[in-house]
């Protein structure tokens, strides 16, 4: 054998080559514990691959595009997706692949296996990477196993693993991974055993589920639990609320199946089996002389130990942040439940809350009542903003889940090809733009109407056009507010200016949906049976996630507009009292001034800007390519909402973040540059819909680029060049 090591050849000093999991399994085997047939692919094979293919430097260049500390989690996810795709599209050198496949064939023949990560340093008492790297269950045949080895290597660079390593101050650049390949034991029941409970050292814990233990590890299947008092050997059984499902091997993976009687009524383990497993974990604790956490399975009455590792939480107390990093990866089941909650519960409640306030006539309120309304509306905004972070943002994982699946199946050259399959959904802000474009089209074809608009006399517009305009105003607001849906000016001047600008130039069409249909078909045809069905469901979920990415902002925008309206009414009353407050005065201060005639909010102090002998100028800025293409034009830097009013056809939109409430200028733009990073952020999504070059995640974009600068957006390489 050229690459694989049998457990018998692994010694206590092999840790740096075989990783924690490989080392522990070798020790279990040496001590006579029942371990399934297992081989280890050492770290040096990862290095061989990464060096021979040039992947090592490509990964480091990707990660070095931006200071890691400055990267938002979404940008880290993007980098991780790109790196994962590098692995997917970089096969092992032919000779290496052949030798490894031959090794695998020799060790396992046609037996199904589990391919697991075993990174050096993981599963130590200091750092537990359990669950952060991938494992693949029920993989068969040399070629498939080699492919999954590459996927396990790739998981070294997942967003969660990157963040966690950063947190532990581990050198990201030195990361490497060994792989453990273990014959699959299709147990009738499986579980985990802790020689000491992480919460109570006097007790041991055993958890068990029917079938494979994927369900237990992922938290999808609720286990039966036994507590064992280590001193008195008193046994307490805690059954789950229901035993309803179990994971079983199925065509190249696993499937969740529902359980029937008698299993639904019986715990998966007999009392004798609980004691048998307890004895194993006690023996393991004695061997390692430290508390152990084991995974086991029972097949035809025989216990097999799948792995053993020290219990992290006892050593590190409560500083382990791993659960948080793990929460970055959400299962399909979890997202489906989240979707139901968002679509069935949260969005209707949000709409109802806005509708209820929409009817309120602010003019009828006393000053005290208006102050109360401001506070109440601010609370509503705060409440829904919190909901936005808690439930809406995580739902973006729907897109990620699909992206990973699509890339695994299609291995596309462009890691973001999957976005094309999501585009074309009826986004609220695109619908708004469509209606604006329809108004502009009428003006473009009618010189008399154009002249009428240019004269500014909008009251004498043809009734049909005026009707459509009022309809637009009532639905979307007058586009002059920094928040959606509001009407901040007396009349539609802002919209008319925009329509004239749009009418003066050819329309900008949205990208054709035909490509999406062809890609979707090609993708689904690659899969068969239940896998195709699952893929279609994940695609549907991702499309909902994509839509929500846009729509939630508009709903939140409505609540913000209601707050703004109440604040505007209060300002008007204060003005009549002779009190002019600066624009940035917080809403709470305005409410207080309204109630208390003697109160004047303190003025905000402006920081002094000292003379700067050194002038910093950008020549070429690095971001992430978020929409392919090349565009040159004058920069229009949006620092305040009012800057949008001057937007001209052919300008390049430069902003902190494209807010859904400002996407109406995007059809005029030649390109988009954003400080906020990510491929799945609103601005990138809209730019892609219009086929515009887009670069996101440019640090200090709005500081280093100035309105009027001639800039080039290189959406292929993620560069912004200042001329």
């Amino acid at each position: 054998m050229r690459y694989l090591l049998p457990l018998s050849q692994i010694s206590p000093s092999s840790g740096p080559q075989v990783g924690g999991k490989g080392l522990a399994l070798a020790r279990l085997a040496r001590e006579g514990f029942p371990v399934p047939r297992t081989f280890c692919l050492p770290v040096h094979v990862y290095h061989l691959y990464a060096e021979a293919t040039g992947l090592r430097e490509r990964i480091l260049m990707e990660l070095n595009r931006k200071d890691f500390q400055q990267m938002r989690w979404e940008e880290i996810w993007d980098a991780a997706l790109r790196i994962r795709n590098m692995f997917l599209t970089t096969p092992l050198p032919a000779a290496m692949a052949a030798a490894l496949a031959a090794d695998v064939q020799e060790c396992f023949g046609d037996a199904a296996v589990v391919v697991r990560s075993s990174a050096p340093g993981e599963d130590s008492a200091r750092a537990s990477f359990a669950g952060l790297h991938e494992s693949y269950v029920n993989i068969q045949g040399g070629e498939a196993i080699v492919q999954h080895i590459v996927l396990v290597w790739a998981s070294l660079w997942s967003d969660a693993a990157l963040l966690y390593r950063q947190e532990l101050n581990l050198d990201v650049a030195a990361s490497a991974m060994a792989v453990v390949i273990q014959e699959l034991v299709a147990g009738e029941c499986s579980g985990v055993a802790f020689s000491r409970s992480p919460h109570d050292e006097t007790q041991a814990v055993i958890e068990a589920v029917y079938g494979l233990n994927q369900g237990l590890v992922d938290g999808v299947v609720e286990p039966d639990r036994w507590l064992i008092d280590r001193q008195s050997r008193r046994l307490t059984h805690m059954p789950p609320s229901a035993r309803s499902a179990a994971y079983a091997p199925a065509a190249g993976g696993v499937v969740l199946q529902s359980l029937a009687a008698p299993q639904t009524d019986q715990p998966p383990l007999s009392t004798e089996q609980v004691w048998e497993i307890y004895d194993f974990v006690q023996r393991a604790e004695a061997v390692w002389q430290s508390p152990q956490d084991m995974e086991w399975t029972i097949h035809e009455g025989r216990v097999y130990l799948l792995q053993s590792r020290p219990i992290t939480t006892i050593a590190v107390e409560n500083t382990d942040q791993r659960p948080w990093y793990l929460s970055l990866r959400r299962s399909f089941e979890n997202l489906k439940a989240l979707r139901a909650k968002i679509e069935g519960e949260l969005l209707p409640a949000m709409r109802a809350e806005a509708d209820a306030r929409q009817g309120q006539d602010l003019a009828d309120l006393t000053d005290t009542q208006l102050a109360a309304a401001i506070r109440e509306r601010q609370e509503a905004v705060q409440h829904w903003t919190a909901v936005y972070w808690r439930d809406f943002i995580p739902f973006a994982h729907g897109m990620r889940l699909f992206g990973q699946l699509y890339n695994d199946v299609m291995r596309p050259a462009d890691p973001y090809e999957f976005m094309t399959l999501l585009a074309g959904a009826p986004l609220a802000s695109l619908e708004r733009n469509r209606r604006l474009a329809a108004l502009a089209a009428q003006v473009r074809e009618d010189p008399a109407l154009t002249a009428l608009l240019q004269s500014g006399d909008w009251t004498s517009l043809p009734p049909a056009f005026q009707g459509q305009l009022m309809d637009f105003l009532n639905t979307y607001g007058d586009l002059s507010c920094p928040v959606g849906g509001g009407q901040c000016q007396q009349g539609p001047q802002a919209i008319l200016r925009l329509i004239l600008e749009m009418a003066a130039h050819p329309p900008r069409p949205l990208s054709p949906p035909a490509e999406a249909a062809a890609l979707t078909q090609a993708f689904l045809q690659r899969l068969t049976g239940t896998k195709r069905q699952e893929a279609a469901e994940i695609l549907d979920l991702a499309q909902a996630s994509y839509r929500l990415r846009d729509d939630d902002n508009l709903y939140l925008g409505r609540l913000e507009a209601l707050l703004a309206a109440a604040v505007a009414a209060a300002r008007q009353r204060l003005q009549q009292r002779g009190l002019e407050l600066p624009a940035q005065t917080p809403a709470a201060e305005i409410a207080r001034a309204l109630e208390d005639p003697h109160y004047t909010p303190p003025p905000e102090t402006q920081p002094d800007s000292a003379a700067d002998p050194l002038q910093v100028q950008a020549r070429q800025l690095l971001g992430q390519p978020a929409g392919p293409g090349l565009a040159q034009g004058p920069a229009r830097v949006i620092r305040a909402f009012d800057d949008l009013a001057d937007f001209r056809h052919g300008d390049i939109l430069v902003c902190d973040a494209v807010d859904p409430n400002m996407t109406f200028v995007v059809p005029l733009a030649a390109g988009v540059v954003e400080r906020r990073g990510g491929m799945l952020i609103h601005g990138a999504i809209i730019a892609r819909e219009y086929g515009l070059p887009c670069v996101t995640g440019v640090p200090d974009a709005t500081r280093l680029i100035h309105t009027g600068d001639t800039i080039t957006v290189d959406g292929y390489l993620g560069l912004v060049i200042l001329h």
Binding site: E57, M61, R65, W389, D612, L614, Q615, Q617, A618, L621
Partner: protein, 157 residues
């Protein structure tokens, strides 16, 4: 739309990366020209403490000296490459542009001390009557990092 983190702030001092490059590197590539024909040469350099002057020495008979006599405009490239694959994510390149002048008199003494503190083995060379101590007065630094990011730092007169 809920806002997120705020980007880094500006500073009126030379950035840390530039100071580190000026301190750690010993050799730089000097670009001059002869009637439009570019000429590149390797020189030992040292930066004045404020980073506004880059010092190097050459004999008055050298080609670069003649080129600079004819046209004082020049550029110096200072970089941290290690001639390895890792350069593509690690190395930085700093290009300094400005006019070059020969320093003389008491100024030469103080600047020669700065230069020799970094290159003590060049004492005889710098002390020779045929050797000129030159200073590139930096008007602009261009720093390329992360493979493709380029920022310019311009000294205001």
């Amino acid at each position: 739309m809920p806002s997120e983190e705020i980007s880094s702030t500006a500073s009126s001092e030379l950035p840390r990366e530039i100071k580190a490059l000026l301190a750690s590197q010993h050799l730089a590539v000097l670009a001059t020209h002869h009637q439009g024909q570019p000429h590149a040469s390797l020189v030992a350099f040292a930066a004045s403490p404020d980073g506004r002057n880059l010092l190097f020495a050459t004999t008055r008979t050298s080609r670069k000296f003649a080129n600079l006599q004819a046209d004082p405009r020049a550029a110096l490239l200072i970089d941290s490459r290690g001639q390895a694959a890792a350069d593509f994510h690690e190395a930085m390149a700093l290009s300094a542009k400005g006019p070059v002048r020969e320093v003389a008199g008491t100024e030469r003494e103080s600047l020669a001390a700065v230069f020799l503190a970094k290159h003590p083995h060049l004492r005889e060379f710098v002390g020779a009557p045929s050797c000129a101590l030159l200073a590139l007065q930096v008007q602009v630094y261009e720093l390329a990092s992360r493979f493709q990011q380029v920022l310019m730092y311009r000294f205001l007169p």
